[in-house]
């Protein structure tokens, strides 16, 4: 197993202003506040784990009033030196976009925006696999965004409908491990989506429903290391059997806002395949 071709450089954002101040997914409850010190310790542990696994980490400046800015996965789509910023569904997060655009612009990325009125929440709802970009829709992203994404990036996009609100982003249901393998959570997809994913992923690690809801698919893969918020034993054994190293990095403070390890990172070294033929 050679691991994933991308995922050695990440954008993150420290949880200085992280908190649960609104409810935009079924995991958020305003009465369950985040413990900011604990969150910071968990985040620093994640950074150390990424570093140890051989990844380079960049951090953007946190901003007061944007508690979810910490979830950089949703900032947008990276394609080489192109950045397509997210258009957030909820006004609570829409202010993050200007900060994301500013960071990417100052780091040499060209910015290509989706049309106004079309929602898409970045890598939270779109992950490359094989020679396509798989993107989900319904809760946070619009299906119409996929055609625009394809036009802007030149990548072929496969659309998957999410059906379980608890798995409101695609990165809670899918984690690419290499060219052929991925962790998949069919619980989150409709029948058509399941068929498309079956056709796309030759060797899936299919999560049971309770495993899927543990957020174990929201993991970061650095080469052959899988950094997971939790790891159900059965999943861990399979990953190890495939020659992957599992590192569990608890980020349960962030689970209060509905995010795991993947949500806290955005891979910067992704180049989408400008596929020709299949």
């Amino acid at each position: 197993m050679t691991g994933l071709a991308w995922g050695r450089r990440y954008l993150t954002c420290p949880p200085t202003y992280f908190d649960v101040v609104y409810e935009i997914n079924p995991w958020m409850h305003r009465e369950v506040k985040a413990d900011r010190d604990r969150a910071l310790r968990q985040w620093e542990a994640l950074m150390a784990t990424l570093d140890e696994a051989g990844a380079t980490v960049e951090a953007m400046a946190p901003a007061e009033g944007w508690p979810d800015l910490v979830f950089t996965a949703n900032a947008g789509i990276v394609n080489g030196d192109q950045f397509v910023p997210a258009r957030f569904r909820h006004p609570e997060r829409q202010g993050e976009t200007a900060l994301d655009i500013a960071w990417f612009r100052s780091h040499g990325f060209g910015i290509d925006e989706l049309p106004v009125g079309v929602c898409h929440e970045g890598a939270g709802d779109a992950l490359p696999f094989g020679d396509v970009l798989i993107s989900a829709y319904r809760f946070r992203s619009d299906a119409t965004a996929h055609a625009y994404l394809s036009r802007l990036t030149g990548a072929a996009v496969r659309s998957i409908e999410l059906v379980d609100e608890r798995l409101y982003h695609f990165d809670l249901t899918f984690c690419p491990l290499d060219e052929r393998r991925a962790i998949v959570a069919p619980l989150g997809w409709d029948g058509y989506g399941c068929r498309v994913m079956e056709a796309l992923v030759p060797e899936p690690l299919v999560l049971e429903d309770d495993e899927a809801l543990s957020f174990c698919a929201n993991s970061v893969v650095v080469g052959t290391t899988v950094i997971m918020p939790v790891c159900p034993p059965r999943v861990g054994r399979q990953l190890e059997a495939w020659g992957l190293d599992v590192t569990v990095c608890p980020v349960d403070e962030f689970l209060k806002a509905g995010g795991g390890c993947r949500c806290l990172t955005l891979a910067l070294d992704v180049t989408l395949a400008p596929t020709v033929g299949s």
């Binding site: 396509v132 829709y137 319904r138 619009d142 299906a143 119409t144 996929h146 055609a147 394809s150 036009r151 030149g154 990548a155 072929a156 996009v157 496969r158 659309s159 998957i160 409908e161 409709d190 058509y192 989506g193 068929r195 498309v196 400008p274 596929t275 020709v276 033929g277 299949s278």
Partner: protein, 405 residues
Amino acid sequence: MPEASEIVEVEGHIIDSLILPKVLDVILSSGADYRLLDVEIGKTNVDASRARIEVTAADADALASLLDELQIHGANRMVRSDAELAACDRDGVLPAGFYSSTNLPTSVRIGGRWVEVEFPEMDCALVLREDGRLRALPMHRVRIGDRVVVGTEGIRVAAPSRPRGHNPFEFMASEVSSEKPKGLLVAAVADRIRTAKASGHKILAVCGPAVIHTGAGPHLADLVRNGWIDLLFAGNGFAAHDLESNVMGTSLGVSITEGSPAEGGHANHLRVINEIRRYGSIAAAVDAGYIDGGVMFECVKRGVSFVLGGSVRDDGPLPDVYRDVVEAADAMRYLLPGVGVALMLASTLHAIATGNLLPAWVETFCVDINQAVVTKLADRGSHQALGVVTDVGLFLSGLVDHLVG
């Protein structure tokens, strides 16, 4: 409610993502239907594919909720812009490029919202009122500053549909034929009238003078007397002969009972018209006891509204006749809302005039011995008209049997 349809477009990698089959599945499982207008399949898998789908649902509400559902899967309505409006700069003159209406259920997109035309009428302009409602108005009724829909953008017209399921008219479709079992059709018309009355709709009779000539006047009077007719449109001739037959026992000088020409009979209707002009109106003549029976008598007695539209060949005319045809049409227009069934009885000119004013959802039965009338009506856009080719006298006596018993 009539069927409603709309064209949606879905674009992207819709074949490999199974979005296209999913969208079609969503349409069918909601009970609606679709027609694939065109599908462009991308040559490589980078190329997006595109499909245009015409979706038809049972009614506008079902369509609206289905379109919302389809939008989630990326299938969007083709119409995304509002209709264009232009102001009239002269009374009775429409802006050039005005949208000429049909009598089908029509909605216009204004300010991002679909507004339904309240009482669709063919060959009119659509005028946006101050309160945001849309009216179909004939050109002579528009005034300076009225905002009129121009062009064809942002206008949605529901496809005409016939009632679904088994009904006696099914086999007729739009075809007119004298080769149909009349008894069955009369029973079916009676049934439709009953249903319309039960749901609070009005029944309109549009009558030609042949109703009186054929001796069917008393049957129609029976229907009026028993409350089955709420509204009557006719010309000077129908009313004059109805009154003549009541006062003189003749219709155009021919005895209704004997069928033989009465002495000096050709002037009978003129004498009656002359007397009624002396009274000032049909109602006044009824009140004075000069008229004591017949269709017009029953209309006056029961307070059934009638509009008598004049024409250039009228004798007299009767004092109630509108001499200005534009005013006559307006008078008819004002009475039409609420009509559920229209019976066109041996009338050509008034039937076509009424057909022009009726929305397509009003069930229209055209009874005439000559099938050309029904064809003419359909040719002029009243596609909803169903023809019953028979003698109007037989038809009305059958209707009385069914409704009055």
